[in-house]
């Protein structure tokens, strides 16, 4: 099947995932169009992180279909590396490589995975570091950077692979309130540039502002979704209402 840009970039149909006795994903369906920004919110343990990990095949699903640009992810013959070259991911704990400088962190994957020319990669990497407003920190080691700075380098590292889709897994949850803003600004700019993003977040204000659609998950299913204005103004499901009243 050839994927056309007018079809969903990501298409999930009835995705199930079970960890032992716990059903983490109990039938998730989702379409993400190119250039869309989707925010997924919901209580802890509702399967948000697992959902993201299923999309780039870090976690295998039990049942259902995940198409990324027309490619089936739930397929034993899947070329995982080809999929991951198209899908970038940023984690809650940054996961920068501590033995490499910021610049090296950004440059490693394009050079060794994509086999691109080193000089060309360096030019792009420096531009990306400028873009996340960390020029001057190129030669700093992750241990010398603050949490927010590390997270922005992690975003740059992911962008250096020129992905078609970015997955953000609670990337501000481990940060100080002051540094949350700088990271969110980076993502907002990314969304404005037309990057397709699936964002798991607890920052409701940010979700309201940046998302095209907001999904609320609870116990492994999408309870409710809609455009952010409508979603936050008139939540229909009682579970959504209860969740929002707890954190807003």
């Amino acid at each position: 099947m050839v994927w056309e840009p007018d079809q969903p970039l990501v298409r999930l149909r009835d995705v199930h995932k079970r960890f032992g006795a716990i059903e983490v994903l109990a039938g998730i369906s989702l379409d993400v169009m190119k250039g869309e920004v989707i925010c997924v919110i919901g209580p802890s343990g509702s399967g948000k992180s697992t959902l993201l990990r299923c999309i780039n095949a870090l976690v295998p699903v039990d049942r259902g279909s995940i198409l990324v640009e027309g490619q089936e992810v739930n397929d034993p013959k899947l070329d995982k590396l080809a999929l991951r070259r198209k899908v970038g991911m940023v984690f809650q704990q940054y996961n920068l490589f501590p033995h490499r400088t910021a610049l090296q962190n950004v440059m490693m994957a394009p050079i060794h995975v994509l086999k691109r020319d080193r000089r060309e990669v360096e030019t792009q990497a420096r531009a990306l570091i400028r873009k996340v407003r960390l020029e001057g920190k190129e030669n700093a080691y992750p241990g010398e950077l603050s949490g927010g700075q590390q997270q922005r380098i992690a975003i740059a590292r992911s962008l250096a692979m020129n992905p078609d889709l970015m997955l953000f897994d609670e990337i501000t949850a481990a940060l100080d309130p002051e540094t949350v803003k700088e990271v969110l600004t980076t993502i907002r700019e990314l969304a404005e540039d037309g990057m397709t993003c699936v964002i798991v977040t607890h920052e409701m204000g940010f979700a309201r502002e940046v998302a095209d659609r907001v999904y609320f998950t609870d116990r492994g299913i999408f309870v409710e979704h809609g455009p952010p204005k409508e979603f936050f103004a008139n939540p229909r499901d009682p579970r959504t209402r209860q969740f929002l009243s707890q954190i807003l």
Binding site: N56, L58, L81, R84, N95, F97, H99, M108, H112, V113
Partner: protein
Amino acid sequence: MSLSDRTNLPVLLPFRVGTVPRRATRLDIRHGAALIAALSLSIGIGEAVAGPGTPSIAATILKWTPLIAQGFALNIAMSFLAMAVGTAVGVPLGLCQISLLAPVRGSSWLATQIFRNSPWLVLLFYCMLLLPFEINIGHTTVPLPGWLKSTVGLSLPVMANVSELVRGAVRSIPFGQWEASESLAFTRLQTLRMIILPQCVKRMLPPWMNLYAILTVATPLTSIVGVSEAMTLTGDILSSEARTELLVPMYLYLLLWFFVYCYPIAVATARLEHRFQVR
């Protein structure tokens, strides 16, 4: 400096049950001083009980020093070689222990456990008795002297310990490092080579040096299987001198040699551990 030293505010200090020593007991310069004191004392006592007309103990020790040094050089050579061979084989063995293939993982685990839990002396005897005294490669005959065979015997437990070090170090790297590399489309081999193992080297260095020190002090075991290293030669010297008052000073003197060699290693290990702990 603790927090309470930096502030005059009332600070709630963590409550500790009992006292735990801050640092592990290590070779210390005081141990060296005690050793030298014991040596001097034993020489003094030896001189006092020695009959008239015999040469002084200090002079006797000095006379035999070149021979002991020669033996000690063999100890060092064996320790170097056993460490090199043990590491060269142990690192791949340790990597096999984290293989995704169950048979590879299982067999390397078994080999590691067998050689790690066998008494060193047993392995030494096995190698001495099972390895031939010479091997034929093509048309050339390579002799296998005793010291070489026992070096092989010593390298087996080193290999198994290095294997465990590698496995433990890889396991100690946070899982997020694997996830991040996977999400960047690194292959498993690339992840190991470029991301996981470089971080392991730093963690492995202090215990690896510790293992080397243990191996060095284990080399005198080879005297039991007849290798002419420092311990054997000291025994030979004592029997040729046939003076009982030499016994204690001579062995203390040999001990001093090992201390002088191992002490810098212990210090360096402690320093490295301390440095890596901070970051």
